[in-house]
Amino acid sequence: MANERLRALEDVEKEIATILQCAGNIVLELSKDKHNASLLDRQLVQFQGSVNRVESELSGQIRYLTQVATGQPHEGSTYSARKDCQMALNRAEYAKVKLGELGRTCEPVTIFY
């Protein structure tokens, strides 16, 4: 859920870049002697759409944060589960080392005459 909201904000950043790009393209087209009306229309529609999307998305995010923010720091932690998992991996590693020693002990000894 957190990733989706962060991804949405990244999309908003791309939309802001699109807004500036569309504005630049429109001004560039208007600077020419002969304007391409269809290009101007497309760019203008894209510009307006991007501005509306940016405004609505950011308003939505701020509204959501107003509802969920408590002002307190979060005190949750994964420390205990992480520690237990680390100890289990240590046990597995220790068993592997001991089995390795046992295997070397049981290898047939080659006698050279």
Partner: protein, 149 residues
């Protein structure tokens, strides 16, 4: 369940500030863009307007002023875009620190993954122990019934 919650003053004022910045930046973008387009409008020449030298100088001054104004408007438009990007960055930071439902979900998921890994590890060690115990029993039986004990 009441959706209104009493936030600490700093958080509430921060969120209000975000709202204000958003509205100001969007308004700035739209206003500056509209003004740029208006400035670029060319008046049509009529039969009455015949340019004399003074009128030409006056027109040139007007065009230069319009160009400068356009630069200023374009600069303001870009600054409004940059300000919006900064706002998005601030919102991302605020979200990471204060979106408790997401943080709780992330912690639960992480705990679940770590515990399942730990259980799988211990389960495999236990089955390994049982297999080795069986082999050890057979080896002991062989050894203690031989002449090398």
């Amino acid at each position: 369940m009441a959706n209104q919650r009493v936030l600490p003053q700093s958080k509430e004022s921060l969120l209000q500030n975000y709202n204000k910045r958003l509205k100001d930046d969007i308004r700035s973008i739209l206003d500056n863009f509209t003004e740029i387009i208006k400035t670029a409008k060319i008046e049509e020449e009529t039969q009455v307007a015949r340019a004399t030298q003074a009128e030409q100088d006056h027109y040139e001054m007007h065009v230069r002023a319009a160009n400068i104004r356009e630069f200023v408007l374009a600069d303001q438009l870009v600054r409004a875009g940059e300000s919006l990007m900064k706002l998005v960055s601030d919102l991302k930071q605020f979200l990471i620190l204060n979106d408790f439902p997401s943080v709780n979900d992330a912690i639960s998921l992480q705990n679940q993954q770590l515990r399942s890994l730990q259980e799988e590890c211990d389960k495999k060690l236990t089955s390994l122990r049982d297999e080795i115990a069986i082999d050890l029993y057979e080896l002991e039986e062989e050894y203690y019934s031989s002449r090398y004990k």
